[in-house]
Symmetry: C2
Subunit: 198 residues, 2 copies
Amino acid sequence: MKVIVLFSGGKDSALASILLEPFFDVELATFAFGRHDTDKAAKEAAKVLNLPHRTIVFEDEVLEEALGMLLDTGYPRDGLNRLHRHALDVLSRDWEFVADGTKREDRVPMMTPDGVRSLEDRQKVHYIRPLAGYGSKTINALAFRYMDFETLPSEVRPASDFEVGLRLALEERCGQEAVFRIFPANHMHTRVVRRKSV
Amino acid sequence: MKVIVLFSGGKDSALASILLEPFFDVELATFAFGRHDTDKAAKEAAKVLNLPHRTIVFEDEVLEEALGMLLDTGYPRDGLNRLHRHALDVLSRDWEFVADGTKREDRVPMMTPDGVRSLEDRQKVHYIRPLAGYGSKTINALAFRYMDFETLPSEVRPASDFEVGLRLALEERCGQEAVFRIFPANHMHTRVVRRKSV
């Protein structure tokens, strides 16, 4: 059975992939915005994990809609959730099993229970969250066991998650001030740099 | 790393154990009430899975408290949750990683988010729910792949879960009428009968 995992290059989506690997043929998918190479970090991390990887480019309208939500609401939550839901929808068209690295304590991006049911029923897909039953402490213990990773601020684009891509697009469009206004300061991301053999 | 999995002999706790097996040394634990051999189904299923198993006997006061909750409330939810929480507490005394087979759609037994935080903080334990991010449809697809199981009604004591034990104790104490009044009719349980090599 094949599963496609929404992959940022960070430790959570990497660990989700590692947990699925004994049971599925795992492929990684990273979403990028047309004009940027925000998938670079994920591509390198996928190589480190030795897992096949593909980049999927968001349609321009999706980026526009997410940016509109950022500017309307003044915070990133709705825009990030919109991108996450859209990415899962796109993957569900071609895969029967779709997974991501969202974890027990995550709040954004996160599907509501109704959203999950709707995704699975509409798309006839199995949506899997391998880390949903793991707390951050447990995830860190496992991540340290299976990989080396760095922790870096959003500004240096360490990972290929939606936040890094949206920040970049927002900065181009509205300047750094808008990024500072809408996104939390000092947000950190992880990036996998080595897979440990256990 | 060792993990102890709360095990009923049914497909959910069996699948939870199988998902953990590549990453942990898995041991299974079944709770029983003193005067009955309700752990028999789980013991046999553990043998089928080829995983080490132990039975832990609930203290009499725990059974009394749970029976009192059944009779007070007229439904099984609070009593089942009490047993589940107590079982996790007991396991947390001796293990650093404790898991169970509760899944995304389960309602009872289930820890609240506050209950999970409290358990992990009080006991310095990692509580893992490997199936928390899997829907029933996905769990069935995986379960069929890795095991054969039967589905049988509570009355024949097919599994060693809390409901089977509580029904038996309640019947002895208050008669079958109390069981019919408090527990749902036609409740089905699964029992693992064979592990498939994949």
